[in-house]
Amino acid sequence: MRGQSSFFEHIGCTKHRGREGEILLTLQVQPEILTVEGTIPPGIFSSMLDIVIGSTIAELVQQPTTTVNLNINYFDFTNCGPFTAVGTIIWRNEKLIAGEGSVLDRDGNLTAKAAGTFKVMGRSIE
């Protein structure tokens, strides 16, 4: 797996592989990332989705990527996790890749979902 960012560590994410080799992110929610009402900030789910889709793509192309667009739907902020995020690639050409990702709670309920477009930096995908 490629390296992980300092922001990734700052919010408390960990990255590992699932049974089929897919990249999974997990988040054990810590008090410092909660809102004053004790709920999960939407930015946490946005970040997990950006990271897991970007990591899934970067693993495929073995090059750094940058996010062009990310469209996120949020379904539940009351659950305090732990959360797991997984991403898939749905389309690609030489420079752009479209992917989607989901955040699930401990019971497998869908908590947030995103679709995004990412640009591959450096040389084109072979």
């Binding site: 490629r2 390296g3 992980q4 960012s5 300092s6 922001f7 990734f8 700052h10 919010i11 008090p31 410092e32 990332i33 909660l34 809102t35 004053v36 009402e37 900030p41 939407p42 930015g43 946490i44 946005s46 970040s47 997990m48 950006d50 990271i51 970007g54 750094p64 940058t66 996010t67 062009v68 667009n69 990310l70 469209n71 996120i72 739907n73 949020y74 902020f77 930096m121």
Partner: protein, 134 residues
């Protein structure tokens, strides 16, 4: 019961996540909020620039602030669509937001992020639900 503008501001600043990322409120009036974020290495991606998740977090926050400063009512994000326009690796990022349409329960609003030279870094448009006490 609706909160005062001071109570709304305090509720943002008291959030552990707000200080964990390092946000600073520059200006907080009804419908007119400016947010600042000094860029630090802890907020970087593997490319050494500000992480996309930070952009998303800041856009959601400034849009939520624009809505709550206007309505004095709590809200929750339903959808946020972000376009990333330019990377940033130093200085600070400033955010501003505004309401585009407000219904009784649903608000559509947008937010923009700028660097110190006025270059737009990201733009987001979102749908938010007002949580009314009734």
């Amino acid at each position: 019961m609706k909160k005062t503008i001071e109570e709304v501001r305090d509720s943002f600043e008291a959030s552990p996540f707000f200080s964990h990322i390092g946000f600073e409120i520059i200006h907080f009036e009804e419908g007119n909020v400016l947010l600042n974020l000094p860029i630090q290495e802890k907020l970087f991606n593997v490319n050494g620039t500000l992480h996309g998740g930070v952009h998303a977090t800041m856009l959601d926050l400034i849009i939520g602030m624009a809505i709550r400063s206007t309505t004095k009512t709590r809200c929750t994000t339903m959808n946020l669509n972000i376009n990333y326009l330019a990377p940033s690796a130093g200085g600070s990022v400033t955010a501003k937001g505004r309401i585009l349409q407000q219904g009784y329960r649903i608000v559509t609003a947008e937010g923009e992020l700028y660097d110190g030279e006025g270059t737009m870094l990201a733009k987001g448009i979102g749908t938010y639900k007002l949580i009314r006490d009734e």
